[in-house]
Symmetry: C2
Subunit: 258 residues, 2 copies
DNA sequence: AAACCTAGTTCCAAAAAATGAAACTCGAAA
DNA sequence: TTTCGAGTTTCATTTTTTGGAACTAGGTTT
């Protein structure tokens, strides 16, 4: 039912995504459980299409630059980054902490862009990197509007990344429900130890969640007042971005007439 | 000989890359000259692999975020951006013009990153975007070290983008040869009218060209002195980045003992 | 409300492509 | 010189993909 060449392609790209060093034909053959003749031909095709490139030293493979061109277009199409960046800078200046822009993809989030805090100690985040949605503030903020995804996440198993990671399905469901009511979600150090955050969803003109704004702050700098400030600032910024994108007014606080 | 599913995938991604608006199954079928049943199944597979995503409104397709993850990893692997960015900022501050980081891919260049000039008037460049190698300073600087590519470029035809575009194969060959000797190349407005630049190649530890640094300056701000300043500054920056990457000392000016 | 688009999905026999064991090439190491 | 490891090519066999047609589902016109 699914095109198998494509699935194989995705596996190969996945291997290169995870791999630290370039990968050769024999290693692919081993990892994929396929004869090297098959792999060799496949890689030749992928190379000619720019999906991978060869290390001229030893013929091993890296991901290709064509993927970068395509990936940049992918997020450009979304229009989110352009609308968000200036407001993200203001937010960073307001709270003096790193600000992140993310999208929800299946059950994980992807970091689209970062505005770094100007402080000496920051929790660096890799643009293009991922995190499990249920472990981070932006992820929970977005899951809150995708109940089906919550169940998919739960079905995949709630692995503990830190002692504070949510591992109880019902706890996750409750937190998301709360996040939906309040319009924001928190991360108290559930993905990376000592890294906290506040996340709020961004909506497009159709009222669909298309991304989230969040903060990344070392736990050592957090206290009750700061949490409150961050929640307020992040929520306002996310709403301002949504407004820029033509989103209908948030339904949260105001009760609209029936 | 080449895997045809992969080629089809590349064509589909190419269509989405060029397309301004999302594309539906029927439109793909028309553009690809294939029955819609085939396309429908294909797109379903691509979607499940994250290569494309559907517009929830109308079911049409965009490029998927997975491509962004892969693309970011692709340039991270190269290690060029990390080595180059700080020096690019210094260069921008030195000449107060936009500074670009590019790689050569087949016969075109791809923009990896930009440090914008602080001036009011700038020629904006899209990260992830392309330009024909023979029309821009960075492209010519890199072609200079890949004679086979020059011939490939020539074979594809030298289309004039502006009145100043090089359209004579021999002129391109001569310019590249000169660029190789001098260690830099110029663009006098050969790709976009009124946009000039100076480009120099960056080498890795094996002495191979892996990218280029270049400037982008409105022609109105250019004069003889500025060209000289830019050439000096760009060349020095490119060499400094190469040194960071462990490149052997440039052979250009010094005549090494036989 | 019935007929009629348009867009997309599913079916299945026919057609085409990918597969993989083995032979081959090429460099480097013993 | 031989051996080894990594990669590529070959070609009969197996496995996919293909695509016309039927089907589904919204939306629009008569």
């Amino acid at each position: 039912m699914m095109n198998q060449s494509l699935q194989k392609t995705a596996r190969i790209l996945g291997i290169l995504m995870e791999s630290k060093a370039p990968v050769g034909v024999n290693e692919f053959a081993r990892l994929l459980g396929m004869p090297k003749s098959t792999v060799s031909r496949f890689m030749a095709t992928m190379e000619s299409l720019g999906m991978v490139r060869r290390d001229p030293e030893n013929g091993r493979f890296f991901l290709g630059f064509r993927l970068f061109e395509l990936g940049c277009k992918a997020i450009e199409d979304l229009g989110l980054r352009k609308a968000a960046l200036p407001l993200m800078e203001s937010l960073r200046d307001r709270i003096n902490e790193s600000v992140l822009l993310t999208v929800l993809e299946d059950t994980h989030i992807t970091y689209l862009d970062t505005i770094e805090s100007r402080q000496a100690i920051v929790a660096r985040t890799q643009i293009g990197g991922r995190a499990p949605a249920y472990c981070v503030s932006s992820g929970k903020a977005m899951l809150a509007h995708h109940p089906d995804r919550i169940e998919k996440v739960v079905a995949q198993g709630l692995r503990p990344y830190t002692p504070l990671t949510i591992t109880e399905p019902d706890r996750l469901r409750r937190e998301c429900e709360k996040a939906r009511e309040q319009g924001y979600a928190l991360n108290r150090g559930e993905f990376r130890e000592g890294v906290t955050g506040v996340g709020a969803p961004v909506f497009n003109a159709s009222g669909a969640v298309i991304g989230a704004i969040s903060t990344s702050t070392p736990a050592a700098r957090m206290n009750k007042l700061r949490w409150q400030e961050h929640i307020e600032a992040v929520t306002q910024t996310a709403q301002a971005i949504s407004r820029r994108l033509g989103a209908p007014a948030p339904a949260g606080a105001h009760h609209l007439p029936g």
